[in-house]
């Protein structure tokens, strides 16, 4: 492999990594949204529990 070819591959590698990071960032955001939604569902369930216990107590 000559120097020029190596240099070209290094640049290709860098660009692939840049795009990997961008893609990962998108995926992480999506994962974060999904987990936030799950947490919200748990919060709703907790509120439901609390309301039920208050209704039963009164």
């Amino acid at each position: 492999m000559d120097k020029e070819e190596i240099q070209k591959k290094v640049l290709e590698l860098q660009k692939v990594m840049l795009n990997f990071k961008k893609g990962m960032r998108e995926q992480e955001k999506e994962l974060f949204r999904a987990i936030s939604d799950y947490q919200k569902a748990l919060e709703e369930e907790k509120l439901k529990e609390i309301r039920e216990s208050l209704t039963n107590a009164s």
Partner: protein, 431 residues
């Protein structure tokens, strides 16, 4: 080594950070063949590290979720499964595995100079779509859906042998819809989809297109300043009404029209016209309208209307006491709903005495979930929804007040963000 020097976003903080990765890589120093191999090894290790960090942070977050809200672990696990969260999260995790694996293969190919069986364009970009090999009939067919290719952006073609999963970001179908709507003279204004992702609550995010559609449908009346007030149907119509109110007020401000007055009234499911309790409810609403609403707007033109904003109309009965009260006070009104499950229905419009503007026939998510972000709940006998923060609902559980307040704050912030986006899109389109 330039690759490893690139800044990696912290897991789950990516959307908060303004870190910008440059489109063009910095100029690389000269490397020998061994140096290149070392770079490849480092890049492969970095990919694994990124993947593992993201996945393990997600696992920890999921694990801690039940205790963070004080909920029983077994119940939380049941919600995780039955609510579809396990499937959704696992699907995203699979995508991450697949994405990391394909990038590693692509990197190996750079040094090995392997033949390229499938050109994968847009790797890591927001509109990448890669079909399963089986769906491609085992051919080397190109499956990218975008005009902007990775090759165009970076000058690099990446090869992969086994694409396994579709990778379509959440907002993509909305974008496609908006673009489609944008064709033609009466096209609905386009919402900034990138900024839409800043809205954390999916139930509020989901309101963007329907509210934009309704605003656009009502634009002649809005432009004329026909509305002097909004009555939001509490509790599930509260967020849509707040957004409407916020957007219309921004438009009015530009036109130097006085601000609209916004009130909330609890919906009235289960009431039948002719029953005594129906009449009592109408009387309560008439008093409310006279004292709280007309008092604020009675110096304006009599023809100005109230816009009733709700989230979903099934049969229209829950709005009946409100429209009867408005009729009794001779206050003209229009009705806007996110969802009208029966579609256009003259019978319901006749019953409610107004044309009903609706955006969709599917249920709005805000109707079925996310009670906390609205911060209120309702009892049918009351004309107002009650605050979830009321003492009797908080004193027995230390978690509750914090949960409610956080949700309410987040809901308000999201509603304001949505109003920003909608008013910007509306004003841009109308001028």
């Amino acid at each position: 080594m330039p690759v490893s020097e690139l800044e990696r976003p912290k897991p789950f903080e990516a959307d908060k950070e303004a870190t910008v990765i440059p489109e063009q890589a910095v100029e690389a120093p000269e490397y020998s063949e061994d140096g290149l191999k070392k770079l490849v090894d480092e890049a492969q290790a970095e990919i694994d590290a990124e993947k593992n960090t993201a996945l393990s942070a997600a696992d920890k977050r999921v694990e801690k979720a039940p205790s963070s809200v004080g909920l029983d672990k077994t119940k939380a696990e049941s919600i995780f499964g039955s609510g579809g969260f396990a499937a959704r999260i696992n699907k995203i995790k699979d995508k991450i595995y697949s994405f990391a694996s394909k990038t590693k293969e692509a990197i190996s190919d750079i040094v090995s100079s392997k033949p390229k069986p499938l050109e994968l364009k847009n790797l890591g970009q927001t509109n990448l779509i890669v079909n399963k090999p089986s769906e491609l009939g085992g051919s080397d067919q190109e499956v990218s859906s975008s005009d902007a290719t990775l090759e165009n952006q970076t000058g690099v073609s990446i090869t992969v042998e086994s694409a396994q999963e579709s990778f379509v970001p959440q907002n993509e179908p909305i974008k496609a819809q908006s673009q489609e709507n944008h064709e033609g003279v009466n096209a609905i204004p386009q919402i900034d989809q990138d900024r839409l992702t800043e809205i954390h609550n999916p139930a509020i995010r989901e309101l963007a297109d329907p509210i934009m559609k309704l605003l656009w449908e009502l634009r002649d009346k809005i432009e004329e300043g026909s509305f002097d007030s909004i009555i939001g149907d509490d509790s599930s119509g509260r967020i849509p009404a707040l957004v409407f109110s916020n957007v219309i007020n921004r438009i009015y401000k530009q036109k130097e029209i006085p601000k609209i007055d916004t009130k909330f009234l609890a919906g009235s499911r289960g009431y039948k016209e002719g029953e005594e309790r129906f009449s009592i409810k109408v009387k309560k609403i008439v008093d409310f309208i006279n004292i709280r609403l007309l008092k604020n707007v009675n110096d304006r033109e009599a023809s100005k209307k109230t816009l009733i904003v709700t989230d979903t109309i099934f049969k229209g009965n829950s709005l009946l006491p409100l429209v009867r009260a408005l009729q009794e006070t001779h206050k003209p009104y229009d009705i806007a709903t996110i969802s009208m499950t029966k579609g256009k229905n003259l019978g319901i419009e006749q019953m409610l005495g107004a044309e009903i503007h609706f955006a969709q026939t599917e249920d709005a998510m805000i109707f079925s979930r996310d009670k906390t972000s609205k911060g209120v709940y309702k009892d049918v006998e009351d004309i107002h929804a009650k605050s979830l923060k009321k003492k009797e609902y908080t004193e027995k559980n230390p978690h509750e007040k914090i949960i409610i307040q956080n949700a309410v704050n987040e809901g308000r912030a999201d509603a304001t963000k949505l109003a920003d986006l909608l008013s910007e899109a509306y004003i841009k389109a109308i001028t």
